[in-house]
């Protein structure tokens, strides 16, 4: 009974001509408008956050390079020694470390990831898919600190066993752990790109006498190219921004370009995380400056990614 009553009110309220009462409709319209504005404001929080993050990080990070007692920006970017106690801040060796570690992780992670995606999408029997897909999802969900523990407890001793140096913390260890960490991203995105390729492509290629493998590499993968490419770029973003896992296994030296894969490295991210809690003054500003450099890398990655997805969208 009460429900029917409610419905009749609903119809009255929804009457745009306002047969019942004009005042009530105006009130209602105002109310709806207010709610819509609240929705809009919430939607703007994301925009405001991005702007705020950029402004605050850049503002603080550019402080040490302006004003009277300015530090040379050139020395900062090209220096290979980090000694806050002596007022020496060079991060070139960290930039090199971040780039090398990311490149290495991509070189290993992308082929393994794409091949796994091919397996899941095209070759695997149903039972195998039922194991692999949850496994990939779980890999994606494992917190990075656990990858750090795994790296410290498994990868570092392994590297130490074969390394000519005395320590296992090295560029190689970082590359291996990062390659594993980008795997889930690469696999799941590539897999959906491969699955989205029309079945007709398969049939046409097989019908012309190509083998399964030829079809995959000459037809399917080229067709899924942009998806795989954006998976790779996302992987780059994840690898270059990874902090906690890397901090455990990188060694974090205070100077020196990495000489080989056995060298200890200090990527940009770990530089920030290691010293932030106890730093102040110029040292802290320099950590923000490190963040600015990292941010610029991330922005490039984001822009490239947008370009790729945009292009793919246009094609469709």
């Amino acid at each position: 009974m009460s429900r029917r009553k409610g419905e009749s009110v609903l119809i009255n309220e929804g009457n745009p001509e306002g047969i019942i009462s004009m005042n009530r409709n105006i009130k209602r319209d105002v109310f709806e408008k207010i709610i819509e504005t609240i929705f809009l404001l919430c939607a703007l929080v994301g925009v405001i956050s991005v702007i705020a993050i950029i402004i605050f990080v850049f503002y603080k990070g550019l402080q040490p390079f302006i004003g009277e007692d300015a530090y040379s920006l050139w020395d900062f970017i090209t220096g290979t020694k980090w000694a806050p106690g002596k007022d020496i801040y060079g991060i070139f060796y960290m930039i090199v470390a971040s780039v090398l570690a990311t490149a290495g992780a991509i070189v290993i992670g992308v082929p393994v990831g794409v091949l796994t995606a091919v397996f899941i999408a095209e070759l695997a029997p149903k039972g195998a898919v039922r194991i692999l897909k949850p496994a990939v999802e779980l890999l994606a969900g494992i917190p990075s600190i656990l990858y750090g523990a795994f790296g410290l407890g498994v990868i570092v001793p392994m590297v130490k066993a074969i390394s000519p140096r005395v320590h296992g913390q090295s560029l190689l260890a970082v590359i291996i752990v990062l390659a594993i960490m980008v795997l889930p991203t690469i696999i799941s995105l590539s897999e959906s790109a491969i699955s989205a390729v029309p079945k007709a492509y398969w049939e046409a290629s097989l019908g012309m006498g190509a083998t399964q493998i030829q079809t995959i590499f000459k037809v399917i993968l080229p067709a899924a190219k942009s998806g795989i490419l954006s998976a790779t770029v996302l992987g780059i973003g994840r690898a270059i921004g990874e902090t906690m896992a890397v901090m455990m296994i990188a060694g974090n030296p205070t100077q020196g370009l990495p000489q080989s894969i056995w060298s200890m490295i200090r990527p940009l991210t770990t530089n920030i995380a290691m010293e932030m809690s106890y730093s102040s003054g110029r040292q802290q500003e320099m950590l923000f400056a490190t963040g600015v450099i990292l941010f610029i890398f991330i922005m490039i990655v984001n822009l490239v990614l947008l370009r790729i997805t945009h292009k793919a969208g246009e094609k469709r």
Partner: protein
């Protein structure tokens, strides 16, 4: 090489890659389990992290002296003691009517002695009253678990409404146009920013400028921004999947837009929103770099939202400090097991919900 040989080689590489992926997962989980299992115990899961020393007074009905407190059963106190290293006595059994349960601390507040507490020293106040120095042993993860829970609740309370309302705005109100693409651009960018940058922002803005200090509120606010892209995009997907005809029927019956959203759209989107929240919980539980710079590393239950004693380490942060500063990989991996269990349960639940959702749609 023949075509077939080449094919088989490539096929081998494909199988090896898939095998490698599974193997890696098994090794990671296996390592954490093997290394950490010895650290898991009832007291690990239920105790405080730090030892807690308290002086209490116990009044008995029978006469008691300091001499009575020694290994074995102590009748006036109703406890059984066992000597352990460091010249202390552990309470291994506590009678139901033991006067120790009615012990008072120096402020006169009740501080009930429990099984497992250690007696460090005893002095006699009078014939029937003893002052006992009680050490409640730590080594547990309760403070970190509570901090993590606080962090989950607080971040979601801030982030979920904003994220869900944003998604509603993007799907139900704003159609196309510049504003929508700006908002989408911002969200995509937010998703790409690494958590250490969020940490930098949080430590500068929330911790310093807003003067929250290292606190759960500063951590939760930072996390809220991190969560926005996940919540918005997942909710958006759900809203997109609701058939247009639902909205049209509702509007056609004379319901207002808001009524349509709250009575028709949202109820149909509930399970999708739930999945978004579960995903967010996973993200909060696993987050470390941003919290390291905003919520601090102290193993304590936060006593306030912001300000001085409001900081606290979550499980992940404690795992980090154990590895980095205390070189204790075993305890770290024991926490790792707890984290793994949480993540697996969350994965399982959100998958079950998604599967139910898909089945409903198929029907």
């Amino acid at each position: 090489m023949s075509r077939k040989g080449k094919d088989n080689l490539v096929k081998g590489a494909i199988y090896a890659s898939a095998g490698f992926t599974v193997l890696v997962l098994i090794v990671i989980i296996g390592f954490i389990l093997i290394k950490g299992l010895s650290g898991i115990s009832w007291s690990f899961l239920t105790r405080n992290y730090e030892n807690k020393t308290t002086y209490v007074t116990v009044s008995t009905t029978a006469a008691v002296s300091t001499e009575d407190v020694k290994e074995g059963y102590v009748e006036p106190l109703g406890i059984t003691l066992e000597a352990i290293e460091g010249n202390r006595l552990e309470i291994t059994k506590l009678d139901k009517d033991s006067p120790c349960k009615a012990a008072l601390n120096l402020k006169g507040v009740s501080y009930s002695i429990k099984k497992g507490d250690l007696i460090a020293s005893v002095t006699s106040l009078d014939d029937t009253t003893l002052r006992i120095k009680i050490v409640r042993p730590g080594g547990g993860i309760i403070p970190m678990a509570v901090t993590t829970l606080y962090m989950i609740v607080l971040s979601l309370v801030i982030s979920a409404p904003i994220g869900i309302l944003s998604a509603i705005f993007l799907i139900e109100y704003a159609k196309h146009g510049k504003l929508v693409s700006i908002i989408h651009f911002a969200i995509e960018n937010l998703a790409g920013i690494p958590s250490i940058i969020y940490g930098l922002f949080g430590t500068l803005f929330f911790v310093k400028i807003c003067q929250m200090k290292y606190s759960i509120l500063a951590g939760a606010l930072t996390l809220s921004i991190i969560l926005l892209p996940t919540i918005i995009t997942t909710t958006e997907e759900t809203l997109k999947a609701i058939p247009k005809s639902y909205r049209e029927s509702s509007l056609g019956l004379g319901a207002t837009k808001l009524q349509t959203i709250s009575k028709v759209v949202l109820p149909n989107a509930l399970s999708g929103i739930l999945v978004a929240i579960l995903l967010s919980i996973g993200r909060i539980v696993g987050e470390s770099a941003a919290l390291l710079l905003t919520a601090g590393t102290i193993a304590q239950i936060p006593k306030a939202l912001y300000g001085n004693s409001a900081g606290g380490a979550t499980l992940t942060i404690k795992m980090y400090t154990l590895m980095k500063e205390e070189n204790d990989l075993t305890t770290a991996c024991a926490i790792g097991i707890v984290l793994l269990v949480i993540i697996i349960v969350l994965n399982f639940v959100s998958k079950t919900i998604t599967r139910k959702l898909l089945r409903k749609k198929g029907a």
